[in-house]
Amino acid sequence: MIDRRLFTHFDWGFLLLVLLIAGIGVVNIASATASYHTTGIPYYAKQIYWVIGGIFLIVTLCSFDYHILEDLSWWAYGVLMFLLVVVLVVGRSSMGATRWLNLGFFSFQPSELMKIVIVMVFARYFTEKAELTGLGFRDLLYPFLIIIGPVLLIMKQPDLGTAMLVFLVASSILMFVGIRLSTLVSIVLGAIPAFFLAWHFHLRDYQKERLLNFLDPERDPLGSGYHIIQSKIAVGSGGFLGKGFMQGTQSQLHFLPEQHTDFAFSVFSEEWGFAGCLVVMVLYFSLIFWGLNVAKKCNDRFGKLLAVGVTAMLFWHIMINIGMVIGIFPVVGVPLPLFSYGGTSMITSMVGAAILLNIQMRRFMF
């Protein structure tokens, strides 16, 4: 099954890029958690384990043809829908939201995997409906039905960030496939009243607070506006060259919330300044463009759609997380791929990277 040609086509450069970002992430986590009083394995070491696990995952996944995902997509969709329901019923509560499922050896968030599964399902759907371009309302009905279940279940947890990501990733694929301009305009116009209805009936108080505080963080500087304010102070006070490794006062003195996970980039900005941020932004930009390039070079429709979807997933994570850290996006719990501490996030990102590598190395297979 493993073709020798595959090794020669494997893009080592991209793997290096992924590991470079993850490596910077590990160093940053070491600083972010330096002031934590933990016993046992330090956070950065655990993150290293996840990275190593991710490498194995990449190697393993790359040895299978990605078309296996086409077959698995609906099964995976069904299983994850089931797990999302299970999470709601028995899931472990964490940070006021029920997101985690304890599998004994480790806990994971089904919603994280759902992002990839939605990409798989959409890729398969639009591969089968290859004739569809310039989507109209009628064409959007089926994709809408596919995502509405997961989105509602994830919002119910409640995990607004992931629900939004699922929606954004799906939308990105639809945009790639192409939506009729009139339809797009109608959707946007219809979304506005829908937003106010949702505001009224569906959003939790803390979610409303976050949105309001995003618009005006000063309205509750010690409450929910605190995160945005402190993060902006951390980023801004970093200046051009930063305060130096482990020298960030905002992080070392715990003014930053969740600084090794969602606000890891805030720690990095404070300690490495604009110069460091520029480097990381260039790396992420390269990552995304490499992903888009994979899509462009791929001659297989399923692979193309898959590559676009996975790239979109990584892209939106980056945008939402960094946008949140620098105060141009509301605080939603979205980690920075490869960079934030956390097994689920790391595995999801690595799976994404593996899929892109897989598509890239098999582009000459036919």
């Binding site: 192409g178 003014f255 001659n299 399923f302 946008g323």
Partner: protein
């Protein structure tokens, strides 16, 4: 397994990919611009915010300067005060901690709970004071049980300490927390809110010197407000110390002599104006103010009809009574209306128009010359002299002796007393001065008022024959290391007030006789080792003509005594006022004697009595040697000392 299908896709959908790429690039660019804005353009203000996040400045209170007596004994010092504090956020089981603290401190649970809740509203991780000013015993118990009181801390700050208790409380003054109004004033611009400042007495007048300047500690705190380390520390500067002119032992003697009587006593160095003793009774306990007076205690002080918070030596304005006869006598001599030999006949009363002014001795003093008039305090002599002088000439000499205006002792709110004149009455009441009014003024009644400090200054001026020194309380200002910063020299207000020495001498002779001759009214001030000269006085509180016998306290006359010693070469002058003490000779003179005795004992002129028991020796001696009380005259009562019938 199903055959893997590769769907070749060469449709133009890569066109959308181009637009997606444009969107991606644009959004990355947007993030980068935002980073540039925060980290390069606005970094300054964010760095400031980050610093103020990190650093907290805590003022460190400076110890106030020490106040010493003239011999270097401490009048007011400082002691550490310990408070029990908690950081509510660090305590898991609030009820348990409250319960234990309540048991260890012996304080009511509700009280601790109330303070806890009140303090909790402040900044996070800010210590809340649950009990302040705890005793050593309480401190020890808390420290021993520190392990069972997690999150409970002890804080120390300096507070005023009064080693002599209530001694000289009016002079020293009390402290209080700076009010909002004071906080806004320029004088306290560098103070921190909550600072304690002098509110009265020396503490207030010398606030600038005594206060010192607070230090500050810059602490690095984490997001929860927990203190991690001290970044920088500016030590507080201890206030400057004062060496007063007060003699602690004389002060003690004087206050003992007062017992629980109300009034004031001032002793002054005749040749420098230094105040040696400054008593105002009843007193208050300044220690109760040191850490904030309880409202209940404040109410008690304010409601007390004997006014324990009032500085009577400084602000008490009393009719000087017969002590004022010194002024009338000097005026008569200076104006040539009387001389040593001229006599007046006293038959017990003096009539002017329809009004009869009685002498205190109804039987009359017979033929009276100036010395006898002073010695026996004959009222008729001074009625007649006053009538001849007229009020304006009396006022002229009273003012020459420093009466009628504040002495400038350097304490706030000093009262001016009152020396009336025809001009004053026309201005004040728009009516003409009545001849009869001069008669009562001539013996220090009517409109005439003087403060004890003025009386002391007056008698000192008589003693040194015309030099008015500014009464003052501070000899030296010392820096915290004890080096002299400022030394105060005696300040002469008037070197010679124009009254002839011969006049002074004659009056002084009379005053000597008051204390030392048979028939003198001030025999109880006599010291056998040192010659004392003085004048008794009784000032009417209410007019109760013809009534005698028992009077309620608040209607009783004030007793006064002014004196100086030694007669030949005066060194020290004393003025004593005993409120409602009835007779100057019996209640004020013994106090003056005790103060003078202490003065001369310290100088070695009088040997200290060997047995400890005999602390009232002078008074007892005087009491036993001078027998019997004299008859009283309403309105103008004087104690008549024994031996007068010899």
């Amino acid at each position: 397994m199903k055959e893997i299908s590769y769907v070749r896709d060469n449709s133009g959908s890569n066109g959308n990919l181009f637009w997606l790429s444009v969107v991606v690039a644009a959004m990355f660019f947007l993030l980068l611009m935002r980073l540039l804005y925060l980290q390069v353009l606005k970094t300054g203000s964010y760095q400031d915010l980050s610093e103020s996040n990190r650093l907290r400045t805590v003022p460190v209170a400076a110890s106030r300067g020490t106040v010493f007596d003239r011999n270097g004994k401490v009048l007011v010092g400082n002691r550490p005060s310990f408070s029990v504090t908690v950081i509510p956020q660090e305590i898991k089981d609030k009820n348990l901690i409250i319960e234990r603290l309540s048991r260890f401190l012996g304080v009511d649970r509700a009280e601790l709970m109330e303070k806890w809740e009140k303090g909790k509203g402040r900044a996070k991780y800010f210590p809340v004071i649950l009990a302040s000013g705890i005793t050593r015993d309480q401190l020890e118990i808390i420290e021993e049980n520190q392990l069972s009181l997690p999150g409970v801390d002890i804080q120390m700050h300096p507070v005023r300490d009064y080693p002599n208790g209530v001694l000289a409380s009016h002079l020293l003054g009390y402290l209080g927390e700076m009010s909002e109004k004071e906080m806004d004033s320029d004088q306290y611009s560098e103070y921190n809110p909550g600072d304690y400042i002098g509110k009265s007495g020396i503490e207030r007048s010398w606030e600038k010197e005594l206060h010192g300047s607070d230090g500050g500690r810059q602490l690095e705190v984490d997001a929860l407000g927990r203190v991690l380390k001290t970044v920088s520390e500016e030590l507080p500067t201890v206030g400057e110390s004062l060496v007063l002119t007060i003699d602690l032992d004389m002060q003690k003697k004087a206050e003992e002599a007062f017992g629980d009587q109300a009034g004031a006593a001032v002793a002054m160095d005749v040749n420098s104006g230094e105040i040696l003793t400054f008593v105002s009774k009843p007193d208050f306990d300044p220690a109760l103010f040191a850490e904030g007076l309880s409202p209940k205690q404040w109410k008690e002080y304010v409601a007390d009809t004997r006014h324990p918070l009032e500085n009577k030596a400084l602000k008490g304005q009393y009719p000087p009574g017969s002590t004022f006869k010194i002024v009338t006598a000097l005026a008569g001599l200076e104006e040539g209306l009387v001389d040593e030999g001229s006599t007046v006949s006293c038959n017990g009363s003096f009539s002017l128009g329809n009004t009869t002014f009685k002498c205190w001795n109804k039987r009359g003093h017979g033929s009276v010359n100036l010395r006898k008039a002073l010695r026996e305090s004959c009222d008729v002599y001074f009625y007649k002299l006053g009538d001849r002088l007229g009020i304006d000439r009396i006022a002229y000499y009273a003012k020459k002796l420093g009466l009628g205006s504040p002495t400038g002792i350097g304490l706030e709110h000093e009262k001016a007393g009152m020396i009336p004149s025809t001009e004053w009455k026309e201005k004040r009441y728009k009516t003409k001065w009545l001849r009869g009014e001069t008669i009562s003024c001539a013996i220090g009644q009517g409109y005439v008022l003087a403060t004890p400090i003025q009386l002391a200054s007056m008698i000192a001026t008589v003693a040194n024959e015309g030099t008015i020194y500014r009464p003052h309380l501070v000899k030296r200002v010392l820096d915290p290391e004890g080096r002299v910063i400022k030394e105060f020299q005696p300040e002469i207000i008037t070197r010679s007030n124009g009254i002839k020495s011969s006049s002074y001498r004659l009056v002084k002779q009379g005053l000597f006789e008051v204390v030392n001759e048979p028939g003198g009214t001030g025999g109880m001030a006599r010291l056998y080792e040192v010659k004392v000269a003085g004048k008794t006085g009784t000032s009417q509180v209410v007019k109760l003509r013809g009534k005698s016998g028992y009077l309620p306290y608040q209607y009783r006359d004030h007793a006064l005594f002014v004196a100086f010693a030694p007669y030949e070469k005066p060194e020290v002058a004393v003025a004593v006022v005993v409120e409602h003490g009835l007779h100057g000779g019996s209640s004020a003179a013994p106090i003056a004697a005790k103060i003078l005795r202490q003065y001369f004992e310290e100088k070695g002129v009088i040997k200290k009595p060997v047995p400890v028991k005999n602390e009232n020796s002078s008074a007892e001696e005087a009491g036993t040697s001078d027998s019997g009380a004299a008859p009283q005259e309403p309105g103008q009562t004087e104690q008549n000392e024994g031996l007068m019938n010899d």
